[in-house]
């Protein structure tokens, strides 16, 4: 029972932090916290397919884009759409799409999950790194589709004036839900089946596990939360363009989950905060640097150099990421046992 109490305290503390942060933080800091929240949703769900199930995939930017566009089109009022679509008139279906916030982000998630289902039929029937290639291509296709179909997406101009409904209550709340969902999946027969597929697909099959089904399930779950995250991102930024959903977004998420440990959700939480917070914290490197009274001048981009070096150093000393493929409580449990056995 102590575990239940510990979990409840952790959840209560997180909610307390969200309420406090929304009301007390200055806009700049709040923005960083919101950013961390959105990236938490994306990185946690990305880790489910990539880390837990071990299927190397490069999909997040595509699914985030799907979620973002769906949500944006549903939130923007029709008369605003008419004004905004500069290149051509919006397609009739675009004019009809309208919903309140929660249905809108859920639709974004479901749309992404549905596309994931379609992708999994060709991809998961074969073994190997096909998923990475297909999802990489998929990300490019989504972006090109967005640019070349202005009647749906307003082309390269993107969508503006998206009602800014997402705040830290929404973002923090959904990040919390995502984390709990992922933990619940991992500590269930489905999570075990996903890990078994990662470790040894033949042996998993010999245990009666339908590996195609399990991989599809993991992929769709990832896609759903990435779609929802994309919806939050669209509403939070209130403007989206196709270029936001380039491969760089996937790359950033990949850095986060590798650093945190492929397959470790608690590790992902820590590494998201480190990476997203660290990028902001290192901003002072881009300003004028004065050491011992000597002015070195400003070197824009130095931040990224230092950040990359820090990442390399971290990967050198913790090759499997911060927590490897285990969750923090399991690591602590093992550590305690080790200590006991030494005494």
């Amino acid at each position: 029972m102590s575990k239940l109490i510990r979990n409840l305290i952790l959840i209560a503390a997180t909610i307390a932090f969200i309420v406090w942060a929304q009301n007390n933080l200055e806009p700049y800091t709040l923005r960083i916290v919101n950013n961390i929240g959105i990236f938490l949703i994306l990185a946690l769900s990305y880790n489910l397919i990539n880390g837990v199930t071990g299927q190397f995939s490069l999909e997040p930017n595509g699914f985030v884009a799907i979620g973002a566009y769906f949500t944006a089109l549903m939130l923007i009022p029709p008369e605003v759409k008419l004004d905004m679509f500069a290149l051509t008139d919006p397609a009739p279906i675009v004019m009809k799409m309208h919903a309140s916030f929660l249905p809108a982000i859920l639709t974004g998630g479901i749309a992404a999950a549905f596309v994931a289902l379609l992708l999994s039929f060709p991809v998961f029937r074969v073994r190997g790194d096909y998923l990475a290639i297909v999802t990489l291509g998929f990300g490019f296709i989504i972006r090109i589709f967005a640019i070349n179909n202005p009647e749906y997406t307003n082309g390269a101009l993107g969508l503006n004036d998206i009602p800014q409904i997402a705040n830290l209550y929404w973002i923090g709340g959904i990040a919390l839900i995502t984390f709990i969902t992922m933990i619940h999946i991992i500590y269930s027969k489905y999570g075990r089946a996903m890990k078994s597929v990662r470790d040894d697909e033949d042996a998993a099959t010999a245990m009666g596990i339908n590996t195609f089904k399990i991989k599809t399930l993991a992929f769709m779950t990832s896609a759903f939360f990435e779609g929802v995250g994309g919806g939050l991102l669209a509403s939070y930024l209130s403007t989206i363009t196709p270029d936001q959903f380039s491969f760089l977004l996937t790359f950033q998420l990949l850095i986060i989950i590798v650093l945190g440990g492929l397959g470790s959700m608690t590790g992902t939480v820590v590494s998201t905060i480190l990476v997203m917070g660290g990028m902001e914290w290192l901003r002072f490197l881009d300003d004028d640097i004065t050491i011992f009274g000597y002015d070195f001048g400003a070197h824009p981009g130095l931040r990224m150099v230092v950040f990359s070096i820090l990442l390399i150093v971290m990967m050198l000393f913790a090759r499997e990421g911060l927590f490897g493929n285990k969750e923090l409580p399991d690591i602590l449990k093992k550590f305690k046992k080790l200590k006991k056995s030494k005494v």
Binding site: R192, D199, T205, A206, M207, N210
Partner: protein, 257 residues
């Protein structure tokens, strides 16, 4: 034809290589049947055909009167077939307990959403399969390692985990691919005790591949000896080791020397 498992005129070609040539044998319910033969004789291929990993070029596999030729490997489990692998294949990143719980996958009847929302069925079935997993670990004497990574265990104990994991699927027919390989004599003796015990307790029929003839002699009721995919002997293991053809297959034919 009244066997529990019938391998009926099975032929398997890999391109131009004939791995199994018109092989037939029957395994009766409740016996321990041995499949022996030199390296490359096609023993593991037969296992892979029975479990559906390979589809035979010709012939049928019949389990309890039902034709299961070319069944999907994961569905073979539902028909009551479980197997172990020649080179132990445990889930490396998972604890011993989790490895065995994977075997209970089909027994935990709760849906994905019930797991995510932690509904009562999740707790009910997790509790049931955990209790069963502990029972299995007690039988094999590996309960003390429940939290250890499967790969941290000794070779002998890893074998036990693998057999326990196979038993967790609730099989009627257990296929053991060289269970005694790499074990010292003490571990082998312990293993044969365990196999006899689980055969009785779980009402199993066992088909095993083995090289250790002493082990085969102690374990098997009947054996089939394979050489280059062909059956060269069927009968009692004690008769197999004095059979001329079998000796020739293992040691080479000296009659022309």
């Amino acid at each position: 034809m009244n066997g529990f498992l019938i391998v009926d005129h099975v032929t398997m070609d890999f391109g131009g290589v004939r791995a199994i040539d018109d092989l037939s044998f029957e395994v009766y319910k409740g016996e321990i049947y041995g499949l022996i033969g030199p390296n490359g004789a096609g023993k593991t291929t037969i296992f892979n055909i029975i479990t559906g990993n390979l589809k035979p070029t010709k012939g049928r596999i019949i389990l309890e009167g039902e034709d299961i030729t070319g069944i999907k490997p994961n569905e073979a489990v539902y028909k009551g077939i479980a197997r172990t692998f020649q080179n132990i294949r445990l889930f490396k990143s998972m604890s011993v307990l989790d490895n065995i719980l994977i075997g209970f996958d089909s027994k935990a009847k709760y849906s994905y959403f019930e797991a995510i929302l932690r509904l009562p069925r999740y707790f009910k079935y997790e509790k049931i399969i955990r209790e069963k997993a502990y029972e299995l670990m007690d039988i094999f004497g590996i309960r003390e390692f429940e939290d250890s990574l499967a790969t941290e265990l000794s070779y002998g104990n890893q074998r036990k985990v693998e057999i326990a994991r196979a038993l967790a699927t609730g099989p009627k027919l257990l296929l053991l691919d060289e269970p005694a390989a790499g074990m010292n004599p003490k571990e082998t003796a312990e293993l044969s005790d365990i196999i006899h015990k689980i055969k009785k307790d779980f009402d199993l029929t066992i088909l095993l591949i083995e090289h250790d003839m002493k082990f085969v002699n102690a374990m098997c009721d009947r054996v089939t000896v394979l050489d280059y995919g062909e059956k060269i002997f069927e009968g009692k293991p004690s008769e197999a080791i004095v059979n001329e053809k079998v000796i020739a297959a293992y040691l080479g034919d000296f009659s022309n020397a």
